[in-house]
C-alpha cells in the first residue's frame, strides 16, 4: 500500500470491522509513523469502550446499556438479591419472570412482583399463594421452591420468588413450529394427569387453577412439568376472586368455584388447543371444529368429557380420567364391547310392531348423578292412544305398555340396554334413532347400532335429547358442541341426505327433553332449570320460554305430543303440560323472547322482596351457572340484586347475561360495572358474541 489509508479505514481496522486487505494495511503501518499513531489512538479508545461495556450491561429486556442494578428505561432487573438476571422469560403489568443464576451458576426461575405498578390484592395473594404451595409440594414435575425475598420499601417494594428453573419449552411455544399428533397429545395427557393425581391426593386437595399450554413445559426427555401455581387453591376454601386464564377455565371458575374437575377442564382445553392450533374458545364456538380434528372418536370423546361444559359431565377427578385414558390407550379390541343384547332385538321388534315412537329413560352417565326414584317412566308420541313407556329400576331399563286410561301395564316388560338415554322413531321408515352412551346413532334392527357421528358430522358433546321432525324428515338433536360454556345447540340430521347442520344456538340453555309438535310446527323442550322453551321447527327461532311446574324433575321428565297436545311424562305418570300446575319460576326477561300468556299466574317469583334472601338467591344462581343454565342464573342474580345491591353480584349478572346471549341485560349490567370490572369481564360477551355496549 503506497498511499495512506483513510482515517476511517484505520478506525475500522482497530474496530475489527475492516474488510479490505489487512496484510497490506499492516505493512503500511509498519513503515508509517503517522498512521501507526492514529491506530494507537484508536486502540486506546477501543480499550475505553471495552471498559465502558464492562461497566454497563445490556438490559435483558430492552437491551439498553445499564450501569445499575435495574434498567432505568424499562425497569427490568439486572440483579436481584443474590441472583444475576440472564433474560426475561415473560412479563406483564405487575411483574416479570426472569431466568437468573446465583453465584454458583445455578439457574432459577425468578418471579418478580412490583408494587410500583399497584398490583391488586389478588396479584399479591397469588404471589404469596404460589410460594406457599411450592414450599409444600414435592414432585419431580413441579418446580422446587428455592427462596423468596423482598427488596425496596413502600411503593418500590418488590417481591421475588425463586424456584427451580424447568429447562424446556412450553407447549404454547412449541405450537409455533410443531404439529401435535394424537399419540403425543395422549402422552401429554397421561403425564399431566399423573401430576394432577398427585395434587388431588394431597390433603387438602390442591387445584392448580390455570392449566394451559403456556404452563405445561416439555423437557428435552419428553417429560412434562406443570408450572405457575399463582392460581392454585386448596379445594374447599371460599374464593372471592377470579384467577385463571379465559379459554382454559370452566364457567364455574369465573364465579370463583373450583373443584378437582376444574383442572381437568383446563387440561382438556389445552389438549384441544394443541390439536386444533386454535384458541380453545374458538374451537368451542364452532360446533363442527372438534369434529374436524383428525383424531379417533375415542380421543374426541375423552377430550369432550375432560372439557365438558358442565362440571357434572366431566370426569370426577384426575384419577378416574387417568384410568379412562389408560383404557383408551389399550388395544382397540379390548376397549369396545358389543352393547346390544339379544333381548333388545326382541324388544325392538316388539316396539316396531306397536307402531309407536318411544323414549327410554336416561340411565347413562349423563343421568347417573341425578336423583332418581326406583321406578320412573318416559314416553313420546304415538299415533294411537297408547304409549310405550320405559321403567327404569336400579339402572336397568325395560319397556312396558302404557295408556292414559289404564296406566302402566307391567305384566309384559321387555328389558333394554341401560346405556340408551333417549330415542325417537321415524314413523315412515320405522327406523329408530337413539342416544347410546352419548353417541347419536341409528338402531338398526335386529340388534346393531350405527353411529351417525361420522367425520362429516359436527362434534356432539353429551347429546341429551332427540326428536323427529316428521314434516321435514329430520332428526333434531340437542347437544353441546364443545366443552366451552356457550351452551347447547340444536343440530339437524337430514335422514334422506344424511347431512348434518346446526339449527340454532341455544345460548346457554341446556335441553333435557325434546318433542316435535307437527300441528304447530314447533319444537317443545324442557331445560335443566325446568323451563319449557319452544322453537320454530323450521328455523330454530326461539318462540317462547315458560316456567315449568316445579314438581317436574327436568332430569327425568320427557315430553310427548299426542293428538295435538303436549304431554309431560314424569314421576311415573303422564300429564298434559297445560294442565300441570305448581309454583313457577320467573323465566329470563329478554326482549327477544315472547312470554307465555299465563305469566301472570305465576306465584312465588324468585327474588320478590317478600321472600328476599340475597345470598340464597345468589347461591342458587351460582348453582345454575355451574349447570350451564345461564338464563336461569341471570334471573336469580337479578332477584338477588332486587334484594340487595352488590357489585359482585352485578358482575355475575353481567357474565350470565353474556353467556345467555341476552344483549339488553348485558348492556344494562355492563353500565353498572366498574371500569376495571368492565375490562375484566367484557371478554365473556365478546366470546359469546353478545353485544354489551
Amino acid at each position: 500500500m503506497t498511499t495512506h489509508p483513510t482515517a476511517q479505514d484505520l478506525e475500522l481496522f482497530v474496530m475489527g470491522a475492516y474488510d479490505g486487505p489487512a496484510a497490506e494495511l499492516e505493512a503500511h503501518l509498519a513503515d508509517c509513523k503517522t498512521c501507526s499513531a492514529t491506530v494507537q489512538r484508536e486502540a486506546k479508545l477501543e480499550l475505553d469502550l471495552i471498559q465502558l461495556a464492562g461497566s454497563t450491561r445490556a438490559c435483558p429486556s430492552c437491551r439498553r446499556s445499564v450501569a445499575a442494578a435495574r434498567c432505568e428505561s424499562c425497569g427490568c432487573a439486572l440483579v436481584a438479591g443474590d441472583y444475576r438476571v440472564l433474560e426475561v422469560v415473560v412479563q406483564n403489568a405487575h411483574g416479570r419472570l426472569y431466568l437468573a443464576e446465583d453465584i454458583d451458576g445455578q439457574r432459577v426461575a425468578l418471579k418478580e412482583l412490583a408494587f410500583v405498578q399497584a398490583p391488586g390484592a389478588d396479584a399479591v395473594a397469588a404471589f404469596e399463594r404460589e410460594a406457599k404451595f411450592l414450599r409444600a409440594l414435592t414432585h419431580p414435575d413441579i418446580p422446587r421452591f428455592v427462596a423468596s425475598f423482598e427488596e425496596g420499601e413502600g411503593v418500590h417494594t418488590r417481591l421475588f420468588l425463586a424456584q427451580e428453573y424447568i429447562e424446556g419449552e412450553s407447549l404454547q411455544a412449541r405450537l409455533a413450529d410443531h404439529w401435535f399428533d394424537e399419540d403425543e397429545v395422549l402422552e401429554i395427557a397421561r403425564r399431566t394427569l399423573q401430576i394432577l393425581v398427585y395434587l388431588q391426593e394431597l390433603s387438602p386437595v390442591v387445584i392448580h387453577g390455570d392449566i394451559k399450554p403456556a404452563n405445561l413445559v416439555r423437557r428435552r426427555d419428553g417429560t412434562i412439568a406443570l408450572v405457575d401455581f399463582g392460581a392454585a387453591r386448596g379445594f374447599g376454601g371460599t374464593i372471592t376472586s377470579v384467577v385463571g386464564t379465559f379459554g382454559y377455565m370452566p364457567i364455574e371458575q369465573l364465579a370463583g368455584n373450583v373443584n378437582p374437575t376444574t383442572d381437568l377442564y383446563g387440561l382438556g382445553a389445552s389438549l384441544i388447543h394443541l390439536l386444533s392450533r386454535e384458541d380453545p374458545w374458538k374451537v368451542f364456538e364452532d360446533p363442527a371444529a372438534l369434529g374436524r380434528l383428525n383424531i379417533s372418536p375415542e380421543l374426541r370423546r375423552f377430550l369432550g368429557r375432560l372439557a365438558a361444559r358442565r362440571a357434572a359431565d366431566r370426569f370426577p377427578n384426575a384419577k378416574s380420567a387417568l384410568e379412562a385414558l389408560t383404557r383408551l390407550r389399550a388395544p382397540a379390541g379390548r376397549r369396545r364391547s358389543r352393547w346390544l343384547p339379544a333381548a333388545l332385538a326382541a324388544g325392538g321388534l316388539a316396539i316396531g310392531a306397536m307402531g309407536y315412537s318411544v323414549a327410554w329413560l336416561r340411565s347413562d352417565h349423563h343421568r347417573s348423578q341425578s336423583t332418581t326414584t326406583s321406578k320412573q317412566s318416559s314416553a313420546l308420541t304415538g299415533a294411537n292412544d297408547d304409549f310405550v313407556a320405559l321403567l327404569d329400576s336400579d339402572g336397568s331399563a325395560s319397556l312396558v305398555s302404557y295408556s292414559l286410561e289404564k296406566g302402566l301395564d307391567t305384566t309384559a316388560q321387555i328389558p333394554l340396554p341401560s346405556l340408551i338415554s333417549d330415542a325417537v322413531r321415524d314413523p315412515q321408515t320405522h327406523r329408530w334413532y337413539v342416544i347410546k352412551d352419548s353417541v347419536v346413532g341409528e338402531l338398526a334392527l335386529p340388534g346393531s347400532f350405527k353411529s351417525l357421528e361420522t367425520a362429516a358430522a359436527p362434534y356432539l358433546l353429551s347429546p341429551s335429547a332427540v326428536a323427529f321432525d316428521t314434516k321435514r324428515r329430520r332428526l333434531i338433536v340437542a347437544a353441546g358442541s364443545s366443552a366451552e360454556d356457550t351452551g347447547q345447540y340444536l343440530f339437524v340430521y337430514e335422514v334422506d341426505s344424511e347431512r348434518w347442520s346446526v339449527l340454532t344456538n341455544l345460548g346457554g340453555l341446556t335441553i333435557e327433553a325434546l318433542a316435535f309438535h307437527p300441528d304447530e310446527d314447533r319444537l317443545y323442550s324442557i331445560t335443566d332449570a325446568g323451563l319449557v322453551v319452544t322453537f320454530q321447527a323450521d328455523s330454530g327461532a326461539l318462540l317462547g320460554v315458560r316456567p315449568a311446574p316445579l314438581p317436574v324433575d327436568p332430569t327425568t321428565a320427557q315430553l310427548a305430543v299426542r293428538s295435538g297436545e303436549v304431554l309431560v311424562a314424569h314421576d311415573g305418570k303422564i300429564e298434559k303440560l297445560a294442565a300441570v300446575t305448581g309454583t313457577y319460576q320467573r323465566p329470563p326477561a329478554d326482549d327477544n323472547i315472547e312470554m307465555d300468556e299465563d305469566e301472570d299466574t305465576r306465584s312465588g317469583s324468585a327474588g320478590t322482596p317478600a321472600d328476599c334472601n340475597a345470598d340464597a338467591l345468589k347461591d342458587r344462581g351460582m348453582e345454575n351457572v355451574n349447570m350451564g343454565q345461564h338464563a336461569a342464573a341471570l334471573m336469580l342474580f337479578e332477584a338477588s340484586l332486587r334484594c340487595r345491591q352488590d357489585s359482585y353480584v352485578v358482575s355475575l349478572a353481567f357474565m350470565a347475561a353474556c353467556n345467555a346471549q341476552n344483549s339488553p341485560k348485558a348492556k344494562q349490567y355492563y353500565m353498572k360495572l366498574s371500569s376495571a370490572q368492565q375490562l375484566r369481564y367484557q371478554v365473556m360477551c365478546i366470546r359469546n358474541k353478545t353485544s354489551y355496549q
Binding site: E26, A30, Q40, L45, L49, L52, R57, R63, S65
Partner: protein
Amino acid sequence: MRIDAAEWEALIRAHDRRVFLAVLALGVRADRARDVVQTTWTRLMEKDERGEITKDNVAGLAVAQARFLALDELRRTNSEKRRAEPLPEMLDDLDPEQLLIDRERLERAAAVLAGSSPSVQRLFQLLYAEPPVDYTQAAALVGVSLQRARQVMCELRKKLRAALEEGSS
C-alpha cells in the same frame, strides 16, 4: 484445576481482541502486535501447565502479559520514545486520582450511550461486552446491514470519544 482445550478456545475468543488492542495502544506495529498476542497466549498456557493460573484470572493476566511483551518488543526495536511512555500508564491503574478521573470519563460516556437508540445500544453491547461477537453476527442480531452496523458504530465512537476526551481538552 487445569484449563482444558475447549476452555482455552473460549477464553481466547473472548479476550483476544482486547489483548491485541492493548498491544496496539502501546504503539506496537500491527503486524508485530499479532505476534505479541500469540506469544501472550502461549505463555499463559505454559503457566497453566505449571498450575500458576486459574481460569478466572486469565483475562487480567493476558493483558498484563501482553503489555510486558509489548514493552519488550518496543525495547528490542530500539524505540526510545515508546520505552518511556508505557510504564507510567501501567501504574496509573493504582492512582486513586486517576481512577476517579477514569470513572468520570466513563460516566460521561455511559450517559452518551444511554441517550442513543436501543438498537445502537444493543449493537454496542454485542460488539464490546463479553462474549463479543463479530460485526457480521452483530448486524444480523440487530437486524441491520453490515455496512449500516459499521456506520452506526463509527458515529457512536465519535460521540463517545468526545465524551471521554471532554475533561482532558
